[in-house]
């Protein structure tokens, strides 16, 4: 299926970008997905510490990750969020810093559109947003930007091993239409599984 969208920007293929992260992620890390990533990640990786926050409230993944990170300070928590979701809760980046959870990584999957609703523009689509500068301005000690697969592949391990909290801005293509049809593990089963894995 064609993933092109007239409103989107040129970026990494989403599946490929997520595969790089799945390979770099440590076995004890928690990965939280949301919206589009919650459909695509399970096609790439199945891990007991994956949690797909879907259905969700848009913008909810980052604060959810903050909660896990604070409750489980011995673990690293990786949150995947889209640009549309981040735009709905920009302040959550400040909340991350205020909470002082150094074991949190945010990976922004920026496709410049609302992917799950059909590729409409966001309010930011025609602007030159600097998410890198945004994260830096609220105090993230590690901020990185990746707009090609080679750079992301080369840089992901160094990024994940840098001082947290971390923020990576990835420019990605929209998801493939078929990938968005993924049937997800039911929420109650997810909660039971991750609760067990976290020892709760």
């Amino acid at each position: 299926m064609d993933s092109s969208n007239s409103n989107s920007q040129a970026g990494m293929p989403l599946r490929s970008a997520l595969s790089v992260l799945a390979n770099a992620r440590q076995a004890e890390d928690v990965v939280i997905t949301n919206q589009g990533s919650s459909r695509v990640w399970p096609l790439i990786a199945q891990h007991p510490l994956d949690f797909h926050l879907n259905p969700s409230t848009m913008g909810g993944a980052i604060p959810f990750g903050v909660g896990i990170a604070l409750a489980q300070p011995q673990r690293e928590v990786i949150v995947l969020t889209g640009d549309g979701s981040l735009l709905m809760s920009m302040g959550s980046l400040v909340t991350v810093m205020a909470a002082g959870c150094n074991n949190l990584t945010i990976v922004l999957l920026d496709n410049n559109i609302y992917d799950v609703t059909g590729g409409q523009k966001t309010a930011a689509s025609d602007l030159k947003n600097d998410y890198h500068g945004l994260a830096r301005s609220v105090g993230f000690p590690t901020v990185d930007s990746f707009n090609d697969l080679a750079g992301w592949t080369e840089g992901v391990t160094r990024f994940l091993q840098s001082q947290g909290p971390r923020f990576a801005w990835l420019q990605v293509d929209p998801a493939l239409a078929d990938d968005m049809k993924t049937i997800q593990e039911p929420m109650d089963e997810q909660l039971s599984r991750i609760g067990h894995e976290l020892g709760c």
Binding site: G60, P63, G67, L70, S92, T95, M187
Partner: protein, 158 residues
């Protein structure tokens, strides 16, 4: 305010609360120093109330016992987050909601008008605390919610 900061800290400590996730208003805000200084739990500040519900959810999934504090206006603002966490994830979040202008019988404040209808629309069980004689209800109600693993709201008159 019906409770001093020290009184509410005592209630929360006895309940085993680990984190208070809040955005204060002028009434709840009087508790700030007491909440912050309490050794029994952490005070977490969010930027908008919609963050508070998923943050509490993450804490609960990670094994902690949070409580939310916000004004009725924040409850209204965060309705979709509440819906997702309490009804999609079915997590039994508890909260103290400051009911703005509740004590003012002449108030036409729509935040007062809609407080109970909104809670009823969400199907959330709540306990109104509006008189000093009601104060023990806070610990009783929240303790019952925690014990029964169900969501619950204290609507605290302001």
């Amino acid at each position: 305010m019906l409770f001093s900061g020290e009184e509410i800290v005592s209630v929360l400590t006895d309940l085993g609360i680990t984190h208070v996730v809040w955005i204060p208003d002028t009434s709840l805000g009087l508790w700030e120093s007491a909440l912050e200084e309490s050794p029994g739990f952490d005070l977490l500040r969010v930027c908008r109330e919609g963050e508070a519900w998923p943050l509490a959810a993450g804490l609960m999934v990670g094994g902690k016992t949070p409580i939310l504090m916000m004004q009725t206006t924040g409850l209204f603002e965060s309705g979709d987050a509440l819906r997702n966490i309490v009804f999609d994830l079915k997590l039994p979040v508890i909260a103290i909601i400051g009911a703005r202008n509740w004590m003012n019988p002449d108030s036409q404040d729509t935040a007062k008008t809609f407080a109970e209808p909104i809670l009823q629309a969400w199907g959330l069980e709540y306990q109104i605390v509006e008189d000093p004689s009601d104060k023990p209800k806070v610990a009783e109600w929240l303790g019952r919610c925690l014990k029964m693993n169900k969501p619950g709201i204290v609507l605290l008159a302001e």
